[in-house]
């Protein structure tokens, strides 16, 4: 295993939730980066070009969908898969997610962290092929 591990950016404003996602990602062998609001999240994507983004919808400042749009508009970032978290749990948010080509998954809070990590692996494997 000489190749560098894939980098995952976690954009989530709840600090301990963010920290725990990072912790689990690292323990699963990924490199984890964190952003705690929308603006910082977008800046982090641009700066670090992560392999995948875990994105909370309800964020202070720019919300998750705005970030999805911003990524899609940038040819350098549009290929980066995004996994969405929402605490609304309404049908509308789910349907909304299907409008974005870069959304590769959708979890309603509270999710099982193990499911998220598993899904991250699956999405990255799909991208590799």
């Amino acid at each position: 295993m000489t190749a560098t591990p894939p980098t995952i950016l976690v954009v989530e404003d709840q600090e301990e939730v963010n920290d725990l996602l990072q912790y689990n990602l690292v323990r699963a062998g990924y490199r984890a980066l964190a952003a705690y609001d929308g603006r910082a999240g977008l800046a982090a994507v641009r700066q670090h070009l992560p392999d995948l983004v875990l994105l909370d919808v309800m964020l202070p400042g720019i919300d998750g969908w705005d970030i999805c749009n911003a990524l899609l508009e940038d040819p350098a970032l549009r290929h980066i898969p995004v996994i969405i978290f929402t605490a609304k749990g309404s049908r509308e948010d789910f349907d909304h997610g299907h409008r974005y080509a870069n959304v590769a998954g959708y979890f309603i809070k509270p999710y099982a962290t193990s499911d998220v990590i598993e899904h991250v692996g699956r999405v990255l494997a799909d991208r590799q092929r």
Binding site: D13, E15, E16, L20, R27, M58, P60, K88, Y111, A112
Partner: protein, 487 residues
């Protein structure tokens, strides 16, 4: 139903038409008889002398001969004149019929009766030609006290009948057209009411079925459009309320799921990696407790809010001493304030100051406000509760010397779930429901709450409550009831 009412309308008109034409017929007939009788009388007088000459053989000067009289009538188609002498022999006829022959009374009745001196009139119905009815008027010709002959005028009734028939037809057509017109008007009117009403009902059912974005068409007569407008107004309000409800449910879902996510992530991670990384337990188990408490607090507050907002909540208003309420709140928070190094004071100049209210709910109000004030005031600061009476109102203030609220947040402070600090902040133990509950309680008491704040210097909540007259309190504080009647 419409056909029925039209029949009821048309039937009397039909009966009237038939009756009117029959009355008219009889009237015309009488008129005709009178006309003919007058003519016949005139003729009889004219011809009487010459008829007398038939008997005497001498025609007096200036007398008209029967032939001359009859021929003058020849041109008239409807009337036929026959003149007979005293013996009953026909002397002249305007149609030149049976002259010289005796009167044939079987076909033309009444001539002999007239010869005996009695005028008469008959309507004779021809057996051959159904429509060739004829009116016969026979008038005796008197001369020198003697009946010298008879003049008969026969008049066919064909044209009269035709005229009456035409009249009846015209009337019938008029009745028919009138009924038809009324019918059409009725149908049109009914349709103009019924059709929009049916449309309204369909639309209302669609709205009742849950499509609150649907609006009914405002069209049709005044009453209907009025109803439609009212319905649309109602639907708009429902739509707004439904939007609020949806947002509220969505907000509640979000607010409950957020701590649950943290709790689940912590528990799951400890379970999975706790053995290999012992720091996880130390770090996250207390956080699980904190988040669980916060969740429980939120559920309690949500239930409180739901109860107060349900419309069933009417505060049980009893006269309360404000000083007592504020003292209780201060006492409950004294230990915590001391721990935090914040001075907590109650300043009520008038100990008798009272309000009418629900004691437990008002305690809840000031507990929430003091809880906030203590939370957002740094060590060394002060939190002061004070009360004073103004113009029938009681003003209570909760002031702190804390961090304050940035002005852009002030308008939202009383919104449900609204918090100034982000979730990252270490003070994120709040739920954002406290001030929403406070406002609901104050408003249910008929009061108002305002907030002023200067960032970095402190915050002041001002509560205005309707005051209570101090006498009931005085009564309660063991004064004899007679004090009231003495005044």
């Amino acid at each position: 139903m419409i056909t029925g009412s039209l029949l009821i309308l048309a039937l009397p008109l039909l009966v009237f038409t038939l009756a009117a034409s029959s009355v008219l017929w009889r009237f015309y007939l009488q008129q005709l008889e009178a006309d003919i009788a007058a003519q016949a009388l005139l003729m009889a007088d004219t011809v009487a002398p010459s008829l007398a000459a038939v008997a005497t053989g001498h025609l007096p000067d200036g007398a008209f001969s029967p032939e001359a009289i009859a021929s003058r009538w020849r041109r008239r188609s409807d009337a036929r004149i026959t003149i007979a002498d005293a013996r009953g022999v026909v002397r002249a006829s305007s149609v030149g019929e049976g002259v010289g022959a005796p009167i044939d009374d079987t076909r033309r009745p009444g001539m002999r009766t007239a010869l005996s001196g009695r005028s008469n009139a008959t309507v004779w119905r021809s057996p051959n030609f159904v429509n060739e009815d004829t009116m016969y008027v026979n008038v005796p010709a008197w001369y020198g006290g003697q009946v010298t002959g008879v003049v008969r005028v026969a008049h066919t009734l064909t044209s009269l009948r035709k005229r009456v028939a035409q009249l009846r037809q015209t009337l019938l057509v008029a009745v028919l057209l009138y009924t038809l017109a009324i019918g059409l008007c009725t149908v049109a009117f009914a349709a103009s009411i019924v059709r929009p009403a049916e449309r309204l009902q369909r639309d209302a059912e669609r709205i009742a079925g849950g499509d609150l974005s649907h609006r009914v068409e405002v069209r049709g007569p005044e009453e209907i459009t009025q109803l439609a407008r009212t319905l649309n107004h109602m639907t708009s309000r429902l739509e707004v309320l439904e939007g609020l409800r949806r947002r509220y449910v969505s907000d509640v879902s979000h607010e409950l799921r957020t701590p649950l996510t943290a709790i689940r992530s912590m528990a799951e991670t400890i379970l999975k990696y706790g053995d290999s990384d012992t720091s996880l337990r130390e770090r996250y188990l207390p956080r699980i407790l904190t988040q669980t408490d916060r969740l429980a607090r939120m559920v309690t507050q949500l239930l409180d809010l739901a109860q107060i907002e349900s419309g069933h909540y009417v505060p049980a208003l009893t006269p309360l001493s404000l000083a007592e309420v504020l003292d209780e709140v201060a006492l409950t928070n004294a230990a915590r304030a001391a721990d935090l190094g914040v001075a907590l004071d109650v300043r009520v100049s008038d100990r008798a100051l009272s309000v009418r209210g629900d004691r437990d709910r008002l305690v809840q109000v000031f507990m929430n406000l003091v809880d906030n004030a203590l939370r957002y005031t740094p060590r060394g600061g002060a939190v002061t509760l004070s009360a004073l009476s103004t113009r029938g109102h009681v003003e209570v203030t909760v002031a702190d010397t804390g961090q304050g609220v940035p002005p852009e947040h002030l308008p939202h402070l009383f919104d449900r779930f609204y918090r100034v600090e982000t979730a990252r902040s270490p003070l994120a133990g709040g739920t954002g429901l406290g001030l929403a509950i406070v406002r609901q309680i104050i408003e249910s008491h008929g009061g108002r709450i305002k907030v002023t704040s200067s960032h970095g210097k402190g915050t002041l909540f001002l509560i205005e409550l309707p005051g209570a007259s101090p006498s009931p309190l005085a009564t309660r504080s063991s004064n004899p009831p007679t004090t009231e009647s003495q005044e």
